[in-house]
Amino acid sequence: MTNGLAAHDLSPNDLINAELVDLDVAAADRYEVTRGLAARMEKTGRVTDLETFLGDVRAREEQMPTGLEGGIGIPHARSTAVTAATLGFARSADGVDWGAPDGPAHLIFLIAAPAGGSSEHMTILAALARRLVRPAFKQALHDATSPDDVVALINKEVLGR
């Protein structure tokens, strides 16, 4: 617990912090990537029960894979095990198959939403989703060199600060 407390601290209005960013994820498949990001969320306290949340994400994924053309995976769920809208981000140079027809995902966004989320939470996530289809936003994430870059970018683009 040397610097853990500060690093994991996520103020109530934040969507993401540096602890929730993994710029070089090493995982065999999408389950592992999702689990890794979800575990980070659990450490921040935003996810109260890891397995429940993973089950909800998986249920959504089984309806239809969330991989999108252009190397993006967006596993997501509304879950009772989530306390506030939270984003986890992972980047993979080799890519992880996410069910998209054109190839593996390099940018992976795990979106956690509380089950009975207020419209405020949902509006933030809607703003995030809209950014995800913008080439400039994606490029900036590809180019980011540190987790703090990613957090700053998302705060600026999605939360407008």
């Binding site: 498949d29 998986r58 089984e62 309806q63 894979p65 053309e69 509304r78 419209s119 949902m122």
Partner: protein, 517 residues
């Protein structure tokens, strides 16, 4: 051009908004005005009646039913899965532009809820063909299930002679007059309740070819395909062209209706096109073709095939059994399967009870094998497949081969050859043992009418085990994440989830229906 769009997805937190953004960006680049209603978790800002009224075209990029879709009635509509809008919004806008230019919105948005099809607008021809056939087959399955089980019950309580009692004819030395269709009031008194059930079941079976043809055409051309398809199917039955004829009639009807739908006609005529002109012309053309041109050759080909099978029966019963087994499992209730089945029924009426037994045994194998495989290795199957597996026990035991279709549709390369292998062995063993069946349907429930029942069951068990091993092995090869990848990419292409009931999903979903993904 002015466009309005609705986006929606199951969770309502990601795809809905990504699709909206993609459409807005693409519209701006293409110089269109677009207003998007996002039916997501953040609440939607409904489009006003004026905004919709001013729009030249409507886009639904939705994986769940669009709320209040009747607001868009009468507008040119493009309807796709939500991913299509995210991945290729410019193409979608171009499609909307074309739709707006068509003189008549052939299938207007918000039209009364219609039966679902399994057609994904974005697929290639091969996929389309498969989806058309699957749509036809999926509407046919409930008729097979209802008719088949009613017939089985009729045999169970009325004995093997019930068919002859109802239809007339000689069975085991006794000649029955049958019940004339003009005197159906005598049905109950002459043949008992078993006869009534048999008649109902037979009537359901008579609908198989017309329903198959009608809904193949429906998948291609919406409701405009129904009339020429169903009439073409009835004619195919009447002329003896059977299921192959029905398949051709359906494709023909769908194609023709689709072409006529695209015709540009003056607005004055446009109103009567879908109600009078298109049904009249397509039905006349399809009917004439079936009766005069292509029906006879197909009927002849079917007869030829039957004769060939008959010839085999004399010389090499085991080979005949294997071939019938291959046919039963090849399309799992489709035209080839039904040719084999019809051959079995014809042999039965000719007094040869062994072929019917082999056909029925082979037809029971595929659903049972899939059911067993989902139990042995559930991880290889999606949730909906596991549910289909539960239903497949009953369907297989009842000789409803169609119970295996959900699996074959999702993964034909691995599933179909595996099922064919087991069915072929079962068919060969049944004929080799000389097992007999006096009932044309009913599966395990009519085992009392089976000759050499123990060997018969053995043949089925061996075939099921072979198919189960093959399919489980094939599935575990390079299928480590089956849970994700065997689901359809788009909500607009799906298949029956429980084998016996078409699960409505996709572009023309009835209100209140459950929609997957």
């Amino acid at each position: 051009m002015k466009i309005v769009a609705v986006t929606s997805c199951p969770t309502g937190i990601a795809h809905t908004y990504m699709a909206a953004e993609s459409l807005e960006v693409a519209a701006e680049e293409a110089g269109h005005e677009i207003l998007v209603e996002t039916q997501g978790a953040a609440g939607s800002d409904p489009l006003s009646a004026e905004q919709i009224g001013a729009a030249d075209a409507v886009i639904f990029a939705a994986d769940v039913e669009v709320r209040d879709r009747e607001r868009f009635a009468g507008k040119p509509l493009i309807q796709v899965g939500v991913k299509k809008a995210i991945n290729d919004a410019p193409a979608l806008l171009a499609e909307a532009e074309r739709a707006a230019k068509e003189p008549v919105p052939a299938s207007a948005a918000g039209a009364p809820p219609a039966p679902a099809t399994k057609v994904d607008a974005n697929a290639g021809f091969g996929t389309h063909l498969r989806q058309w056939l699957m749509t036809g087959v999926s509407y046919m399955i409930p008729f097979v299930a209802a008719g088949g089980i009613l017939i089985a019950i009729a045999f169970l309580i009325g004995g093997a002679k019930i068919a002859s009692k109802v239809n007339g004819g000689t069975f085991e030395g006794v000649t029955y007059a049958g019940v004339s269709t003009d005197h159906l009031d005598k049905l109950l008194s002459q043949t008992g309740f078993a006869g009534v059930l048999f008649f109902i079941g037979s009537t359901a079976f008579k609908m198989l070819v017309p329903i198959l043809a009608g809904f193949i055409a429906y998948a291609m051309a919406d409701r405009l395909g129904l009339v020429p398809g169903i009439v073409g199917g009835l004619l195919a039955s009447a002329i003896g062209a059977g299921f192959l004829g029905g398949l051709v009639a359906g494709l023909l009807a769908g194609f023709l209706a689709l072409q006529m739908k695209k015709l540009r006609v003056p607005r004055g005529v446009a109103g009567v096109m879908p109600v009078v002109v298109i049904p009249l012309v397509t039905t006349a053309v399809v009917g004439t073709l079936m009766l005069v041109v292509i029906g006879q050759p197909i009927a002849a080909a079917t007869t030829h095939l039957t004769n060939w099978l008959n010839g085999l029966g004399g010389s090499n019963a085991v080979l005949l059994g294997a071939i019938l087994g291959l046919m039963m499992a090849f399309d799992l209730g489709g035209p080839i399967n039904k040719v084999a089945y019809t051959f079995g029924v014809a042999s039965l009426s000719a007094g040869n009870l062994t072929i019917m037994a082999a056909v029925m045994a082979a037809g029971m194998v595929p659903p049972l094998a899939m059911a067993l495989s989902t139990v042995l290795r559930p991880k290889l199957y999606t949730k909906s497949e596991r549910q289909a597996g539960e239903a497949a026990w009953l369907l297989g035991a009842s000789f409803i081969t169609e119970g295996a279709i959900p699996f074959a549709a999702a993964d034909p390369i691995r599933v179909i050859p595996s099922l064919m292998a087991g069915s072929a062995v079962t068919g060969a063993m049944s004929l080799g043992f000389g097992a007999t069946s006096r009932a044309p349907h009913g599966g395990i429930w009519v085992v009392g009418l089976i000759g050499k029942p123990l060997l018969y069951v053995l043949a089925i068990v061996v075939g099921v085990l072979i198919s189960t091993l093959c399919v489980t092995f094939a599935k575990s090869l390079g299928e480590s994440d089956a849970d994700f990848d065997t689901e359809p990419e788009s909500a607009a292409s799906t298949y029956p989830s429980a084998g016996s009931v078409p699960s409505p999903a996709g572009s023309r979903t009835p209100a209140g229906a459950t929609v997957r993904s």
